[in-house]
């Protein structure tokens, strides 16, 4: 039976190409999946897996998510209570934090306790945003990273962000990257995971990670 994967649409950018990346990953790995971009909470309730994307500023994304009636409550229900596999991408991952500190202090979902703060590289010549391709330093084994080479000689992920999630519990950090100091690249706790980078823009690594997510049984 085909699994239903919902990519939550709350007005944060183009989700059509993200959906295409999920479709491609599903097809390439022989996983029967229906990928739906939706703002319909009933559809999210039926979903086997949930993806929360997000581009732009933290506060704008939070506002956008709150503006979809019942969506935050629905996510609490299906992700927190029903424990369905969840992936946050970029600001969609940052929203998992307790607070975002971009421009103003904004409450996050609080699923991964911590703050989203400006990256301050220890080398003045390094540019912000942290924009481009970087490698991952795995902090733990995880199904989402199966078959993905990490470390300095590993595959690259595409990042574009100025703020980063700093979890309170170090064990919530699944992978780090480096930009004048360690920067959180992935978080995971139970059925909740997030990538600061864009798997849907990360070519080889991205398609592998998406396929892993589609197979993941937390």
């Amino acid at each position: 039976m085909s699994q239903l994967v919902t990519i939550i649409d709350y007005g944060s950018g183009n989700l059509h190409s993200a959906a295409k990346a999920f479709e491609r990953a599903a097809t390439e790995s022989g996983l029967s999946s229906t990928i739906r971009v939706t703002s319909d909470t009933a559809e999210v309730r039926r979903a086997d897996r949930i993806v929360l994307p997000g581009v732009g500023a933290f506060a704008d994304c939070r506002r956008g998510l709150d503006a979809v009636p019942g969506m935050v409550e629905t996510l609490e229900e299906v992700v927190r209570q029903k424990q369905r596999p969840f992936l946050g991408i970029c600001v969609g991952m940052q929203l998992l934090a307790s607070r975002g500190l971009e421009h103003t202090v904004t409450q996050g979902l609080g699923w991964i306790p911590g703050d989203v703060a400006l990256i301050v590289p220890d080398d003045d010549s390094l540019k912000i945003p942290h924009m481009g391709w970087n490698t991952l330093h795995k902090q733990d084994e995880h199904a989402l990273l199966d078959g993905i080479e990490t470390g300095p000689e590993g595959l690259h992920a595409y990042f574009v962000h100025s703020y980063a999630l700093i979890p309170e519990r170090p064990e919530d950090v699944l992978a780090l990257t480096e930009h004048g100091g360690p920067v959180t690249a992935m978080v995971a706790r139970g059925n909740v995971a997030g990538t600061q980078f864009h798997p849907e823009k990360s070519q080889k690594l991205g398609l592998k990670l998406i396929a892993n997510f589609l197979r993941w049984t937390p």
Partner: protein, 254 residues
């Protein structure tokens, strides 16, 4: 682990076809942009850039179609520019599948537009394209409309200003070098890259692979943009990456 230097092939698009102008004149048709984008995706390009070079004058609907079809086929970052003047233009391009939008003339004529765009969509997707010509030793000024119109604005001060307004990246093109194959204007690139906190893409004038190396090593650019050396098969993306890696630059080779 370190952030890698990006190689960005740029497809100048007119009427839905790839062209490459020599100093933005004498256009030569060089193929279908979606097919070219797929080829660059497969070849390991780090990003792609579409510049709709005649967008100021002509119907742009065809560009949205090109962007949509590219975004559906290529899982890599895509920047689109040309004729971006209003918030609605940016929204339409982002919704079509662009990841970043480059603003050129409108950033010159209406600085508030850069701020509005960055506030609305986030600085990470706002690239300001700076077209500059050297007017005297150590001084470069901004030109618009494909290099036809002088503005009298000094390039480094303009770069600082648009970054303070929220631009997340600068695409710096030397109008003196564009199409000449004589290398980037390293003085211009370096001055701007050193003056701003955001990444700078060097553009205009690449003739060989050493020019790409120089853009980063001497121009302090975070990314290098080129068109004809790739479009006409003079070098492959892989050759460029290997050459730059051999010169000691951090490149993504996977």
């Amino acid at each position: 682990m370190t952030l890698k230097t990006r190689i960005i092939p740029c497809l100048d698009v007119k009427d839905g076809r790839v062209v490459k102008g020599v100093k933005f004149l004498d256009l030569v048709d060089a193929g279908d942009p979606v097919e070219a984008a797929k080829a660059y995706d497969a070849a390991g390009a780090d990003e792609l850039c579409f510049l709709d070079i005649t967008a100021s004058h002509e119907d742009r609907g065809i560009l949205f179609d090109v962007v949509t079809r590219t975004a559906e086929a290529c899982f890599m970052p895509l920047t689109v520019g040309g004729g971006v003047r209003k918030v609605e233009d940016i929204r339409a391009l982002l919704l079509a599948g662009a990841d970043k939008v480059s603003i050129n003339t409108a950033a010159v004529t209406n600085r508030g537009f850069v701020k509005e765009a960055a506030e609305k969509f986030g600085g990470q997707c706002v690239v300001v394209a700076i077209d500059a010509k050297q007017v005297s030793p150590g001084r470069w000024e901004i030109f618009t409309h494909g290099g036809r119109n002088a503005t009298g604005l000094e390039a480094v001060a303009f770069a600082r200003e648009v970054v303070s307004l929220g631009a997340g990246e600068l695409l710096v093109t030397s109008m003196d070098r564009d199409g000449t194959k004589s290398g980037y204007d390293l003085g211009l690139t370096e001055r701007i890259a050193d003056a701003v906190s955001v990444p700078v893409i060097a553009s205009g004038g690449v003739g060989d692979l050493d020019d790409l190396v120089a853009g980063v090593r001497d121009g302090h650019a975070s990314a290098v943009l080129a068109a004809s050396i790739f479009h006409f098969g003079t070098y492959t993306i892989q050759q460029a990456k290997e050459h730059m890696a051999a010169a000691g630059l951090a490149m993504r080779l996977d």
